[in-house]
């Protein structure tokens, strides 16, 4: 249901603080959508290691690369996007290179506040509006953006508003307003907030919901709670674990697994599960959008099988 709702938009923006697993969830979301026959583009912004590695593929660059039939990925580096834009504007390669080679251009781009973000969002808009073939149809059915996690993650989305206020006239203001109206249009864009079942992450996710609504006029459509500890024991078993863990019984359950160590592991799990439950409730009570829980995966590394597990859970939510 949540997935149906999200997939009705062409653009899904995943936001959340660093380390909550946005790129894993974004890739799982892409696989789930691909299962429904959509043509998908997954966009990362200046990612040091791109999500293509989860699928066992080489890092992707600034050009869209089809990593699976129907699933393309791209890593937008702001300076490269700007270069590309300049090339389009100048149209003469030699001159474009000359401009790009000048230190003034480089340093201006690095120091002009908000310009990198604006360039990236502009590129996202171009991709969202791109048409192909005859009859013309959208090049991508779905674009998923792993938004950069700077500060509250708000900085990125705030740029178009700031730019349209600061520079009302001229191409910057014009494009900023177009980007803003794309982001605000619930028929085109869905914002999903990713969090972990932890104090900071939940508080920030809720603050983020409030700020995007109040400051930017963008409503979050879903929360995704990643890394949940799910119930592994019955209520009676949990009671038994908590009772026996404080005793000092001899014995083992398997080679290398003593009873007391396993009971201690059991108690650790129970505490984590309760924390998960506590934070999920808190999120559900305060969130104005559905909350989807995804399990913590006890794998050494994220691979396609792990992603398919998460995709299945998204499909079922």
């Amino acid at each position: 249901m949540v997935l149906d709702d999200l997939l009705q938009r062409r653009l899904i923006i995943l936001s959340g603080k660093g380390g909550v697993g946005k790129s894993v969830i974004g890739t799982a979301l892409a696989l789930a959508a691909r299962g429904r026959g959509k043509r998908i583009l997954f966009i990362e912004v200046d990612a040091p290691l791109t999500a293509s590695r989860y699928l066992g593929e080489a890092p992707v660059g600034g050009h869209e690369t089809e990593v699976r039939p129907g699933l393309s990925m791209v890593n937008l580096v702001p300076a490269r996007v700007m270069d590309e834009y300049v090339r389009e504007m100048v149209r003469v390669d030699v001159l474009a290179r000359k401009v790009q080679g000048s230190p003034i251009y480089r340093r201006f781009f690095a120091a002009a506040p908000g310009l990198p973000e604006l360039m990236v969002l502009g590129k996202i808009m171009v991709l969202e509006e791109e048409k192909t073939g005859w009859p013309r149809r959208p090049r991508y059915d779905l674009i998923i953006v792993d938004a950069p996690a700077t500060g509250h993650g708000l900085a990125f989305l705030r740029v178009p508003l700031v730019a349209s206020n600061a520079v009302p006239v001229g191409p910057v203001g014009h494009n900023a307003r177009r980007i803003l109206s794309m982001l605000r249009d619930p028929k085109r864009t869905a914002l999903a907030i990713v969090a972990l079942p932890e104090e900071m992450a939940v508080v920030e996710a809720l603050e983020f919901q409030r700020m995007t609504r109040d400051e930017l006029g963008i409503e979050a459509r879903a929360f995704i709670l990643n890394g949940c500890h799910e119930r592994r024991f019955t209520g009676a078993q949990e009671a038994e674990i908590l009772r026996r863990v404080t005793e000092d019984e001899d014995g083992r359950l398997a080679p290398g697994v003593t009873l007391q160590a396993a009971l201690a592991a059991g108690r650790r799990h129970i505490r984590r599960r309760k924390l998960t439950q506590f934070y999920r409730k808190r999120l559900e009570q305060a969130a104005d959008a559905p909350v989807v829980s995804l399990p913590l995966l006890f794998t050494d590394r994220i691979d396609e099988a792990a992603l398919e597990t998460l995709a299945g859970r998204l499909e079922a939510a």
Partner: protein, 396 residues
Amino acid sequence: VSQLSVQALSRALDERRVLVVCGSGGVGKTTAAAALGVQAALRGRRVLACTIDPSRRLATSLGLDRLPDKPRALDLDRVAPDRDPRGALWAMTLDTKRTFDALVEKHASSDAARRRILENRFYKQVSSALAGSHEYMAMEKLLELSADERFDLVILDTPPTRHALDFLEAPERLMGFLDTGILKWFLKPYFVAGRLTLKVATRTGALALKLADNVLGLQFLQDLSEFFLAFEGMYAGFKERAGRVRALLRSDDAGFILVASPAPLTLDEALYFHQRLDESGMPFVAFVVNRVHPDPAQGFPATRAAADIDDDLAEALVEVFQDQRRLARADRRSVERLEGVTGRSAILIPEFEADVHDLRELKETGDVLFGVGGERRGRARGRSARRLAAADGAKR
């Protein structure tokens, strides 16, 4: 070996004047910075812990939510009555906009210049909202605080950037920007007349201007030009202070503590960061790896006796145990990689079963770091972690 790292960290808390806590977002930097602040104060130093983005409960319990941007003295008597009495702890949260405003207030060349800046549309947006200003202001604040005679140690939490290096490079970036012709270019009246007066010396220059007009628009350039003009007279000061921060961060008075989690991505960042510190001659102190999953077998002597337990429960328990062991092993491999690449041992903090919210928990986190109360660090860590968990259980 890890004992050496603990000693290095310990010496740094005793001797340095500035400690910068770095790492990528979500690794527990803020908590680590605050916990180290408590430890230094217990050793008799007068410490200011400057945090950037504390959790609300931590901010509330330290009273930071009521006093943004002002150091607030914390009462250590309750958590450490028998500490070195000379020690004291202040905490504050850095507020980018206020720091920027204060800077303008202090350094603007005249009242008119001050008003021109503070009322500039561009300034209003830039000073609070946009990326980059955090780093510049953290830098300015660090300089101001390190000269404040109330404190003999400043511990600085760094802004939550995607690339932790942004902070490190802020002084260079600012100096680089002020050094290029770009500023002069903006300070010339190309834009002010309301149209581009194209008396630019070179063809490329003329082209760049034309392009800038097409891409960015004249209005944008004019606003930017006005913004830069308003700051005229302050640039020498900016540059001079950026140079001083740069020198301070390379001196023996400073030290960098790199915080990572065992997640490969944050560890890679820590490795890269370490390399950059090395290259630029900045003093590295120690790696702290936070939220390490403990090995569930650790501390339990092996046995061969059969256990008296229901089969279903035994099976579920073994599964949970193995899952936790897998995470612990993955974490250990991560830490070994870090240590192998750098030749430095890491100080490990186990994953606690609850978040750290108040001064007492901050102190206990630091105790875990230093293995207080036991000769064997691992043991002491385990005990403290359990104590923390127990304390948390009692509260709920």
